[in-house]
Amino acid sequence: MSYLEYRVTSIPSGFRKILYMNWAIVILIISISTVGFLMLYSVAGGSFKPWAEPQIKRFLLSLGMMFLIAMVPIWFWRNMSFLAYFIALVLLILVGFIGSKGMGAQRWIDLGIMKLQPSELAKVAIVMVLAAYYDMLPAQKTSRPLWVLLPVTIILVPTFIVLQQPDLGTSLLLLMTGGTVMFLAGVHWAYFASVIASGIGIITAVFQSRGTTWQLLNDYQYRRIDTFIDPSKDPLGAGYHITQSKIALGSGSFSGRGFMQGTQSRLNFLPEKHTDFIFTTLAEEFGFIGGISLLVLYVLLLIFCLWSALQAKDRYSSLLISGTAMTFFLFFAVNMSMVMGLLPVVGVPLPLVSWGGSAMLVLMAGFGLIQSAHVHRPRTAK
């Protein structure tokens, strides 16, 4: 069954496109965001201000944008991919000069109506540009060293800029998303194996050298790594948040303390209670049931995206959908691991739930692209 057997006329057109959208994904997005509104309402002490109300407005705006993106044929977006990457890069460089500082890092540009984080934009832009790259590249060249080096550069440039901000979390996310797209595109597994092996090798060397004559890092750098990996070694600094976060989660127990009844999260012990640590409030107030429900919603959304990726008939769409889904997965997996003390604290928000404009806007744009690919994929004429 080759592509030639499809007829372009079988692609829906006009308002019929809306019917062909993946409605399961839309419904899941709305449900997850609603959980977010409830939590923001609760952390504000039972008030729509200052977080829930603007978040709802932003969500409606992004939802509209998602529909608009979905209506535009996917090949248009493919042609825009390089431009998107270029814009993201320019903004990333620009933010270094005119950006505002937040929590010690230079991250966002104030647009007046919202604060834009170019690093968030880069997440989707990288997926787009790599998908377009592999769409253009003849399949047999995929694993040739020179053609591997080019996408690696495409990934490393923004990663490096983000690292300078400094935002370790986002740069790791960019690296992993890019790597995923390359993996799916069919780059030979030996490349990945060698990268992983050398990474492990370097890390082992660094730690093995500790205390010996050929020690690779300074003592204070080791200590910093120690507290990064195990925050409990620094109970007054990084470990403090994690301990409090765990107490909040644990005290939620099976069924939770009830909506707006959480004590732990009401004590202002976390500076990020409405952003990165919002999951603690959910887990405290709705307990294990609440936490696992949100996880199930996320997993369902992921599964629908992956399913859509498998249905796509062209390379660009497949890679774009899987890559975006990976971004989404990394968001919630890293955030939840961090809150539950499985990973060190890096600033990654809970997707669609945490307060924040850029992440939501970019994620919804990503979902718009997924929908566009979904709508415009060739269908067998009936």
């Binding site: 080759s2 592509y3 030639l4 372009v8 996917i74 090949w75 493919r78 769409d135 399949a139 993996f183 799916l184 595109a185 069919g186 109970p235 007054l236 600094g237 403090y240 409090q244 765990k246 107490i247 909040a248 989660l249 644990g250 005290s251 939620g252 127990s253 099976f254 004590t263 732990q264 004590l267 202002n268 012990f269 887990a283 294990f288 936490g291 696992i292 996880l295 996320y298 997993v299 992921l302 599964i303 992956l306 990726a309 498998l310 008939k313 062209d314 390379r315 660009y316 769409s317 497949s318 890679l319 899987s322 990976m326 997965f329 997996a333 939840m336 691991s337 539950m340 499985l342 060739p378």
Partner: protein
């Protein structure tokens, strides 16, 4: 244009890899679910216990207020630990019952209770409010034992301001007091510290003027508190910064001596280092105990201070403005010399009065001085000489010289709003009095009467500048945090040295010539001899009625109608080191009242201790020794006052 389709081989590989990736993602989601179960179900009881027992609060840590020392490191304002009892509303629950229980253990006045309740209503519920402070250790321990019955109540140890030299430095250092809503309104974005109820801020003088630098920066600490609000442990602490410590130019020993010497008179004196401009002492009397204000002064005490006619609340040395009287004559003389109207040898005949536009203006000596030259005019303080000179020079040039010598200008030494004084001018009179300047006004101004007003600080600056011929700027802060304030060599004044020398010579005669007005206050020891000028300024003109009823001398008049006694001087004459100004309000004659005080101060400053009686004329020595003994009893023993290591 549609997109390039997959080749079958590629499509298969992509599907395969997608499935691998998908299953990896799902397994990780499984790990997350397991972790959630572990935390929320298996360890739930443990965490819930932690959550219920422990709550985390943020407390501001007030910084240590900067200390103030004298030039030798003797402490003038320090912080001492004091115990207070605080209440946190959100922990107390039923505030009324808690306060009731507390008042059974610790004596709390009705006033304090009312104030506490109103402060509790005003401030955030998690902020501790001081119920009562300066409680004894016994009270503190009683409260500590009964903590279970007193939720939200914590005995705390804090720092409270203390002024060990009490009334001796009130007019310089000022005092602190609890921050008021008025203080907060004055500031645009107040320091969070100021929102702590009853936080102590500088209320007057240096404490107020250097408030921002003395206060320091707040720290914050996270504390874990249990269900009744008791602090269980400190989790972390952001260190604040203590306020800056200041070293002043004043000499505590000299200041205390002068305060004792002035006694209960309504008087003030300023001592300056002639060369550097350092203010060595600046006293106003009567004074009061600033520690009373820190604790909260009672209404009756405060009313007593307010109603005292000698005005103890006013720092007269800087805030007082007096007609300088004859001490102003040097200014008029220099104006005459500089503008060529007279020479040191030109003479005027003084018959005891001078007729100016049909009105007789009298010299203080009714019989007249006879033939008067410059030296004699200063030495014997002839008024007619200056009436005559004034008519030639005019007010404009006199005012110019006055400002050059530091009169009628604010010196901004940084204590409080200084009295600017007043050097009148034609425009000023037009504007304020709405009257034309008449020639008689100039004559009055020339002898420091009429509208001329100066502060004791300005007079001290004047005599320092007369002594050195340099543009000496008074200053009060020697160093902040050990770093010296900039020290500049004073430039020369734009005055002919010959004129200055003539005046210095004349001022020397005032004290050391047999005919000098202050001959009785001379210093015998050659190395310490001084130069100066007395002044007696009229507060009220003696009315015709008074004259008729025979009241002409000061003694017969009511206290507040008597003349001010003034004296300015510097010493040693060959190498001036200190300049002094003394003003005794309604004290009577300058030569009789102010000059002896000036001499005592100069000698005390030059000796650095009680002077040798040898310095005084023989017949005074006995009385001086007696007085020294008496004053020693009145002064605090500085050996008992803490000194800084630096």
């Amino acid at each position: 244009m549609a997109l390039e389709p997959h080749s079958t081989r590629n499509w298969k590989r992509l599907t395969r890899r997608s499935l691998v990736l998908g299953s990896l993602q799902l397994s990780f989601a499984g790990v997350l679910a397991l972790r959630m179960k572990h935390l929320q179900i298996e360890q739930a009881d443990q965490f819930r216990l932690l959550a219920d027992e422990n709550r985390i609060n943020i407390r501001l840590v007030p910084p240590k207020r900067g200390e103030i020392y004298d030039r030798n490191g003797i402490i003038l304002a320090e912080n001492e630990p004091s115990y207070r009892i605080t209440l946190v509303k959100e922990d107390a629950g039923d505030v009324k019952t808690v306060l009731e229980n507390l008042s059974k253990l610790v004596p709390i006045s009705r006033e304090e209770l009312e104030r506490t309740v109103s402060e509790l209503n005003r401030s955030a519920s998690f902020l501790p409010v001081t119920v009562t402070d300066r409680v004894t250790w016994d009270d503190v321990s009683r409260v500590a034992i009964n903590t279970p019955a007193l939720p939200g109540i914590t005995p705390e140890v804090g720092l409270s301001r203390r002024y060990p030299l009490s009334e001796n430095f009130t007019h310089l250092i000022g005092y602190v007091g609890p921050v008021s809503s008025h203080d907060l309104e004055k500031r645009q974005s107040p320091d969070p510290l100021l929102k702590i109820p009853r936080f102590q801020v500088g209320k007057s003088r240096i404490e107020s003027h250097l408030e921002e630098r003395l206060r320091g920066r707040a720290g914050a600490k996270h504390v874990e508190v249990n269900a009744v609000g008791r602090v269980m442990r400190e989790l972390d602490r952001q260190e604040g910064a203590a306020g800056e410590n200041f070293k002043l130019t004043v000499d505590a020993d000299l200041q205390c001596y002068i305060q004792a010497r002035l006694g209960e008179d309504s008087a003030s004196a300023v001592v300056m280092d002639c060369q550097s401009g350092d203010i060595l002492a600046m006293t106003s009397s009567p004074s009061f105990d600033p520690n009373k204000f820190v604790r909260g002064i009672s209404y009756s005490d405060y009313d007593a201070l307010l109603e005292d006619k000698r005005k103890p609340l006013v720092s007269k040395a800087i805030q007082g403005a007096y007609p300088p009287g004859s001490t102003f004559k040097m200014i008029t003389a220099i104006a005459g010399l500089e503008n060529g109207f007279i020479t040191p040898s030109s003479t005027v005949f003084c018959p005891g009065h001078l007729e100016i536009s049909g009105k007789k203006k009298y010299c203080w000596k009714r019989g007249g001085h006879g033939k008067v030259d410059l030296a004699k005019s200063i030495r014997e303080s002839c008024d007619v000489f200056y009436y005559d000179l004034a008519l030639k020079v005019g007010i404009k040039k006199i005012a110019e010289v006055a400002r050059k010598f530091g009169l009628g200008v604010r010196h901004k030494v940084g204590v409080t709003v200084e009295a600017e004084g007043l050097i009148p001018s034609q425009e000023w009179k037009k504007r304020v009095r709405d009257a034309d300047w008449v020639i008689g006004d100039t004559a009055n101004a020339a002898i420091g009467q009429g509208d001329v007003l100066t502060s004791p600080l300005q007079l001290a600056v004047m005599s320092a500048r007369l002594a050195t011929g340099k543009d000496i700027i008074p200053k009060l802060v020697k160093s902040a945090e050990g770093t010296l304030e900039t020290k500049e060599v004073a430039p020369d004044l734009d005055v002919d040295p010959a004129s200055l020398q003539a005046l210095q010579q004349a001022m020397f005669q005032v004290i050391n010539d047999r005919n000098g007005t202050a001959y009785k206050s001379r210093i015998i020891q050659k190395d310490y001899r001084m130069a100066g000028k007395t002044g007696t300024s009229q507060v009220f003109t003696i009315t015709e009625a008074e004259r008729l009823s025979g009241i002409t001398s000061n003694k017969d008049r009511e206290w507040n109608r008597r003349d001010h006694a003034l004296f300015v001087c510097y010493a040693p004459v060959n190498n001036p080191k200190v300049a002094v100004s003394v003003v005794v309000e309604h004290g009577g004659g300058g030569s009789k009242v102010a000059a002896p005080i000036g001499r005592d101060i100069i000698l005390q400053a030059l000796y650095g201790k009680d002077p040798d009686p040898e310095a005084y004329p023989v017949k005074d020595r006995k009385a001086i020794q007696l007085r020294q003994k008496e004053l020693r009893k009145l002064r605090p023993n500085l050996k008992n006052i803490r000194k800084t290591r630096a």
